[in-house]
């Protein structure tokens, strides 16, 4: 009895520390038994393909949150990028379209970063403003109409798949590896943790905190543009309202994964779990016949619940 006690304790600690993963696995097992269509290869591939698009942006959102900020404008950069990418595919070709769209997203991100890091405006106000402005721009350019493309290369890329898995999950995988490496093994990554952990300490240690905050928004701009282009590849069209819920989705996934809104903690490996959990959850709701409007309602509840849990955990840690 006495000997087995530490083992039991270990298991309990493991479950608490990996609550999200444990819940995810449990939920998957539960679904596999209750809904036959859930565990079909088609559905699994569907989950992977669907979650990868937003996952690309969620990686970069995690970095923004680690730096102690957050960003609402990513959703509009995403929508704008689907439009710009499609327009450019129709005019200058897919290669040019890729470069122009990526550069544009990066610039939008850099603009946010400049206002937050250098001018020291609150991120909430800045990104709320640019969110509305960029979305407006996308509506103006398209006269609020969706734009289609018949670019042959784009259609070919869209068709590419290995065992049902499209190119997008591979791009997502690349982003995951890149961001984990960036945060864990580079000086800039560490500087971002320090800046989010305690801004003043980082500044007084001679870290360029303004650059740290600037670069995270810039990266998110680029990642949102990349995600937007991937969406364009998938549906061969661009439209302003695409990706409206992207920012909040990414923030939810990041926090569900275990990165605190307070900053200085967490990582992209955690967000990957968060993204997967959300994807499985909403896939399950669809399979169970829950309608789109109801899902929106649930999505909102999940966001608030997750932020509440984050606040509760933070409070516990302080005590």
């Amino acid at each position: 009895m006495i000997k087995s006690l530490p083992n039991k304790k270990k298991i309990v600690t493991f479950i608490i520390e990996n609550a999200v993963s444990v819940f995810l696995v449990g939920f998957i097992i539960f679904m596999a038994f209750t809904k036959r269509s859930f565990s079909t290869w088609d559905n699994i591939v569907n989950i992977i393909n669907e979650s990868s698009i937003y996952g690309i942006a969620a990686c970069a959102m995690t970095v923004v949150i680690i730096s102690g900020e957050f960003d609402l404008a990513a959703s509009s950069i995403f929508g704008w990028s689907t439009v710009l990418f499609t327009l450019c595919c129709n005019s200058i070709g897919i290669g040019g379209a890729f470069i122009v769209t990526l550069a544009c997203g990066t610039l939008f991100g850099a603009f946010n970063g400049y206002l937050v890091a250098k001018i020291k405006m609150p991120a909430f106000v800045v990104t709320l403003g640019t969110m509305i402005a960029i979305k407006g721009l996308a509506y103006v350019v398209t006269k609020a109409q969706p734009i289609n493309t018949d670019n042959k290369i784009l259609w070919a890329i869209g068709k590419f798949q290995i065992a049902g898995i499209s190119i997008i999950p591979f791009v997502y995988l690349g982003m995951i590896i890149l961001f984990i490496w960036f945060l864990r093994y580079t000086k800039f990554g560490r500087d971002i943790y320090a800046t989010g952990g305690n801004y003043e300490v980082a500044r007084l240690s001679g870290i360029n905190v303004v650059f740290s905050k600037f670069i995270v928004f810039t990266m998110l701009g680029a990642a949102a543009a990349l995600a937007g282009m991937m969406y364009g590849v998938r549906i061969k069209a661009g439209w302003a309202p695409y990706g409206q819920d992207l920012s909040l989705y990414c923030i939810t996934a990041t926090i569900i994964g275990g990165t605190s809104l307070l900053g200085g903690n967490g990582g992209v490996h955690k967000t990957v779990i968060g993204v997967l959990l959300l994807a499985v959850l909403f896939n399950a709701l669809t399979l169970l016949g829950v309608g789109g409007s109801m899902q929106k309602f649930i999505r909102g509840l999940v966001l608030i619940t997750v932020i509440m849990l984050d606040a509760v955990v933070a409070k516990r840690q302080r005590e």
Partner: protein, 492 residues
């Protein structure tokens, strides 16, 4: 009726893996000023948290005026007459003095009766012999004045016992002299004060009884009149201390830093001085004299407006902390928790933060190199931590301060500005830090030491600048470095 206002009987408090308090019994006489001292981690704070309702003891009993006392949280303790004044005040700077005193207990039936609130607040402060404008926001008052507001707040709860945690740590000598009569006044009115401090001088000056704690136990108790300074230190550290300060042996060399006519905003005006190789240059003055501001201007945290800085005779421009570091200047800030350390990062990461370039290859950080650096400083500075991967929350003040020092040593700067380097750390760790300062200067580094503790700055400095109201009032050397001379310069 018991003769003691407070009895803590056989209090034991066990945290997972640690016995924080081991069978501690403390008796406090009514109206006494009872000092409680001990090194950091000795258990003083835990004991006081049992008393003010933050913690519940694992075993043991409390008696207030002979009656068993069971507490349900801080508010409950406050209402039963036990108030605590923490080092970090529980005041809201944007609210007025009166609002702060009666926070959560506004006077009046349905709406707030401001007239009564303000009048009551004013009366409380008058009873302490103070005349404050109670409608002014607390943030406009000085640290010393805010502390008095805290005391008034305690009185508003009809406090029988007031626990003061390092009440003078951020007060200047002059402010302390104004503060002591207030404590005396409390005593005269029959209020008991439990006085936690690291400053032995103060204890001998105003306390009646002293209790010494070490390693979670009460190791000694005596009327202050029957014990001397050396005996107290011996009880605290559990061994005999030869001296509080190690002797200085370095002879300063060539000029390293020269500051000429430096001004910044309204806080600093026309400051000129120099610093030599291997020297410890002390800067004394009252809180608000501009000492920290001067350090920040030199380091680049808050760059200068006018004037110039020369390093080894070459003019340099320092507009940011990054440039300060590039010009071989490092700064240990006065508040290690707020501005010195990222508390939820590991020891390793906090040390390498200043010079990640040295532990990377290409763009990649080498974890083994980082660990080797951390190991080196943990050993060199005798940092007591379970592991180099430990976050800094659980380290004692002295060990945290050693980590702050390590990070600047690792960045290998030539000029080290230490702002209150021993604030809130215990006697043993202080001595280690003084010795380290000596070693560093032997190795050719130069130190600017800002300190409000006169004995420290007088003993450790080779030269002493005295600042007042943003100016350098005088420079003291060798035999001139006495407390009297410093005070002469700051008194108007």
């Amino acid at each position: 009726m018991s003769e003691y206002v407070l009895e803590m009987k056989e209090i034991t408090k066990i945290f997972p893996g640690v016995i924080a308090l081991d069978n501690v019994s403390l008796q406090v006489t009514k109206g006494a000023i009872h000092a409680l001292i001990g090194e950091n981690g000795a258990g003083k704070s835990t004991l006081m948290k049992v008393l003010n309702g933050v913690y519940t003891a694992t075993s043991g009993e409390l008696f207030l005026e002979g009656q068993p006392l069971i507490l349900h949280g801080v508010r409950d303790a406050q209402e039963k007459g036990i108030s605590t004044i923490f080092q970090e005040f529980n005041l809201i700077n944007t609210l007025s003095v009166a609002e702060n005193i009666f926070l959560g207990r506004y006077q009046g039936k349905k709406t707030i009766d401001w007239k009564k609130t303000n009048k009551d607040a004013h009366n409380l402060l008058s009873s302490l012999g103070l005349d404050f404008d109670v409608t002014k926001p607390v943030g406009r008052f000085s640290t010393a004045e805010r502390q008095l507001v805290e005391i008034a707040k305690a009185l508003s709860y009809q406090a029988k016992i007031i626990v003061m945690d390092e009440p003078t740590s951020s007060l200047t000598k002059k402010e302390i002299e104004l503060f002591f009569p207030i404590i005396q006044k409390l005593k005269d009115e029959g209020i008991t004060v439990i006085y936690i401090s690291h400053k032995l001088d103060e204890i001998f000056q105003i306390c009646d009884v002293v209790s010494v704690m070490r390693d979670g136990k009460l190791v000694g108790e005596s009327p202050v009149s029957e014990i001397n300074r050396e005996q107290v230190i011996e009880l605290m550290v559990g061994r005999t201390m030869e001296a509080e300060f190690p002797p200085r042996t370095v002879t300063p060399g060539e000029k390293v830093l020269e500051v000429k006519h430096l001004s910044r905003g309204t806080t600093l005006s026309d400051i000129s001085f120099d610093l030599h190789k291997g020297e410890i240059l002390g800067i004394a003055g009252l809180v608000g004299a501009g000492r920290t501001e001067l350090a920040e201007a030199i380091f680049g945290a808050d760059p200068l407006d006018k004037g110039s800085i020369e390093i080894y005779g070459k003019p340099v421009s320092i507009r940011s902390t990054k440039e300060g570091k590039r010009n071989s200047i490092g700064m240990v800030t006065e508040d290690r928790k707020a501005t010195g350390l990222v508390l939820d990062m590991s020891v390793t990461k906090n040390i390498t933060i200043t010079k990640l370039d040295a532990v990377k290859k290409g763009v990649v950080l080498r974890k083994q190199k980082e660990a080797a650096v951390a190991d080196e400083y943990v050993e060199k500075l005798n940092i007591k931590t379970p592991s180099i991967n430990q976050t800094l929350y659980n380290l004692s003040g002295g060990n945290q301060q050693k980590v702050v020092l390590s990070k600047w040593l690792f960045s290998n700067v030539e000029i080290l500005i230490l702002d209150e380097p021993t604030r809130g750390i215990d006697v043993g760790a202080k001595y280690e830090i003084y010795s380290l300062m000596n070693t560093l200067t032997e190795q050719g580094k130069s130190i600017i030491m800002i300190s409000s503790e006169l004995p420290e700055v007088l003993s450790m400095s080779d030269r002493l600048l005295v600042m007042h109201k943003g100016e350098i009032k005088g420079e003291l050397r060798d035999g001139q470095m006495t407390a009297d001379n410093v005070m002469q310069l700051v008194i108007e």
